[in-house]
């Protein structure tokens, strides 16, 4: 049933010199779900994301994304695959010399035979879908707030209508209202565009609000995956502390109220 899986990782080992980040890591992401990846600082959440999208080469293991073996794919297959996923980096990673609209147009320029006016209109559409006002289109990344940069980064990640989106700490550094809006945005876009979302986060509210399943990284592997409810009954001390700590309790109450 490999078709049901957007991402399939088996026996992944990532090492930096003698320091090992992942040892024998297995993870499945199903199509259409929003998977939240949590873990303490330094457990290699971002490294995992970078490894899946091919920015980092693992020492061992298999990674298959949307049915393509990432580590063994030839250049053409990789290019095709790269058009089917979008990545939003932590601070947006926008090209600082381009305006927001030009940033979103970058991936669209790869589409053969797309006239300029349609490209511009589609970029504007993505910008507006990411919840940015029209005035933001002509602005440069340095003129935007952190939240707006994240939205612009999301608009660029969505430019080619990907099947799969990677989000690295989408709500880090946002105020609670902005973070909640961003959560709703992710949920809405995921529903209406049929996205699979791989989301690295620290934000318990985000986990409650948007994630279908949660994967906990600890001890250099995926310790446990499951719904938020299932997480609450896990015995592992770190997982217990994470999902039963004071902040977790507050987030749970919030989610229960709304």
């Amino acid at each position: 049933m490999a078709d049901d899986l957007a991402i399939r990782i088996r026996g992944l080992c990532t090492r930096f010199g003698s320091h090992s980040v992942h040892e024998g890591l297995d993870l499945d992401v199903r199509r259409g779900e929003i998977l939240g990846v949590v873990g303490g600082s330094g457990t290699g959440k971002s490294v995992l994301l970078r490894t899946i999208v091919g920015l980092q080469r693992p020492a061992e293991g298999e990674i298959s994304v949307l049915g393509t073996d990432v580590l063994r794919a030839d250049d053409d297959a990789r290019r095709t695959l790269e058009r089917r996923w979008g990545v939003m980096f932590q601070d947006g990673a926008l090209f600082s010399a381009l305006t927001v609209r030009e940033n979103v147009e970058v991936p669209l320029r790869d589409v053969a035979g797309l006239p300029d006016d349609i490209r511009r209109a589609l970029a504007d559409l993505k910008i507006s879908m990411a919840g940015l006002k029209p005035v933001a289109r002509g602005k440069y990344p340095s003129e935007l707030s952190g939240g707006m940069r994240k939205r612009a980064g999301l608009a660029r990640a969505l430019a080619l209508d990907p099947d799969l989106v990677f989000l690295d700490e989408p709500t880090a550094g946002l105020d609670p209202i902005g973070a909640a809006e961003f959560d709703r945005l992710i949920r809405r876009l995921s529903d209406s565009l049929g996205l699979t979302v791989f989301l690295v986060t620290h934000d318990l509210d985000t986990l409650h609000a948007v994630c279908d399943r949660v994967a906990v990284l600890a001890e250099r592997r995926v310790l446990v995956t499951g719904s938020m409810q299932e997480m609450l009954s896990v015995d592992h001390p770190w997982v217990h502390e994470y999902f039963h700590g004071p902040r977790a309790r507050a987030a749970r109450t919030d989610a229960g109220d709304t």
């Binding site: 600082s96 797309l114 559409l125 910008i127 879908m129 029209p134 440069y140 209508d161 876009l189 049929g194």
Partner: protein, 378 residues
């Protein structure tokens, strides 16, 4: 999102149940959006329209955008559009896209008129004047902080000064010496070819000595230092500014002018005369060597002729320019660094600006010196 697949299919049924029905089918995606937009543009807008999406195989935001445009056009004409037969995913997508349809952006700029050109000219002139004022302000800031240091020498950052002296001066010695040596060689070679026609070969010594000691030694040194140091200042200060390190410094009670500018500019003030001196020696050495090879003027004869024929004030005139050049290079480099904004592009632009401005200003100052010394007859 595959690029293959059928073109979008359109069939307009003028007499369907309850009015006009537009039957759509095939793939309505980014790859087909150009065709789709053109075909949808042909649908007349004069009446209500029902759009049947039952046969649509694939729909993405690009396809939905084209449909939403059609709907907006018909609704703008005062008629209604209804969607039929869309599956849940397509309906949700259509809904989202319709809600976020961007309004038309601001109109593109019209053609350039004379008034715009005049305005641009005015802006450029005002900015030029402002730029000069800012350089003066930077020079004033440097002087002020230097005077304060005289009152409170404990604040002086000796380690930093030594570090910058090493970066700016010691590391530049090889390139400066080599450059001056080659200039000496070239002068001797070219000079001897010309002077030989008049049998005045021995004057090649005066030619080399005066041009190197008075002008070329220090000028070319300053140009090289402007190229390597002004850019380094701009890049270092600029990247600190980009990452808000300069702001952090201010909040910690550190004065960026004291910490960043004073050691750098002071290091240039100390090292540029020394580099100029090294250039002079290397230039004379190159000249002497070439005169020996090309004209048979022995080093001893060169030395005698040099000491007899060249007044020491040529050296003083040359060296007197060094502090001014040092100030120009330092002030331009630091100022450009502080003008860097939050993006990588601006860092690159300001770095190259700093080099161009510094070299240009050094040459202008040199010309001013020439006129000045000629007038007072030194």
């Amino acid at each position: 999102m595959a690029a293959e697949g059928g073109a979008p299919e359109l069939r307009l049924d003028e007499a369907g149940e309850g009015g006009r029905v537009l039957h759509l089918g095939g793939r309505l995606t980014l790859a087909q959006v150009t065709t789709l937009r053109a075909r949808l543009g042909e649908v007349p807008g004069g009446a209500d329209l029902a759009v049947d999406l039952a046969q649509v195989e694939a729909l993405d935001t690009a396809g939905a955008w084209a449909l939403a445009r059609l709907a907006a056009r018909i609704e703008a004409a005062g008629h209604g559009v209804t969607w039929q037969g869309a599956d849940a995913d397509h309906a949700a997508l259509l809904e989202t896209v319709t809600q976020s349809m961007p309004d038309a952006g601001p109109a593109e700029a019209g053609r350039v008129r004379l008034r715009d050109l005049l305005e641009r000219l005015g802006r450029t002139s005002v900015e030029g004047v402002k730029f000069l004022m800012e350089l003066l302000a930077m020079l004033g800031l440097f002087t002020d902080r230097l005077l304060r240091l005289l009152l409170r020498p404990r604040d002086f950052r000796l380690t930093s000064l030594v570090h910058h002296c090493h970066e700016v001066g010691v590391k530049a010695v090889p390139i400066v010496a080599l450059m001056a040596f080659l200039i000496g060689v070239v002068l001797a070679f070219q000079g001897s070819a010309q002077l030989r026609q008049f049998g005045a070969e021995v004057f090649v010594v005066d030619l080399i000595a005066i041009s190197i000691l008075r002008e070329l030694g220090i000028l070319l040194t300053a140009i090289i230092v402007a190229g390597r140091t002004a850019s380094a200042f701009t890049a270092a200060i600029g990247s600190m500014k980009m990452r808000e390190e300069v702001d952090a410094m201010r909040t910690l009670g550190l004065d960026p002018a004291q910490v960043l500018f004073v050691p750098r500019i002071l290091a240039l003030l100390v090292m540029l005369p020394i580099l100029g001196l090294i250039a002079n020696v290397a230039g004379l050495f190159g000249g002497a060597l070439m005169s020996w090879i090309e004209l048979g003027i022995s080093p001893a004869m060169f030395q005698t002729r040099l000491v007899e024929g060249t007044a020491v004030n040529h050296v003083l005139v040359g060296m007197s320019k060094a502090p001014v050049f040092a100030l120009i290079i330092g002030v331009v480099g630091c100022h450009a660094g502080m003008k860097v904004e939050g993006n990588a592009e601006s860092l690159g632009r300001m770095t190259s600006n700093a080099v161009v401005t510094a070299i240009f200003a050094v040459i202008v100052a040199d010309a001013a010196f020439s006129v000045f010394y000629a007038q007072i007859g030194v």
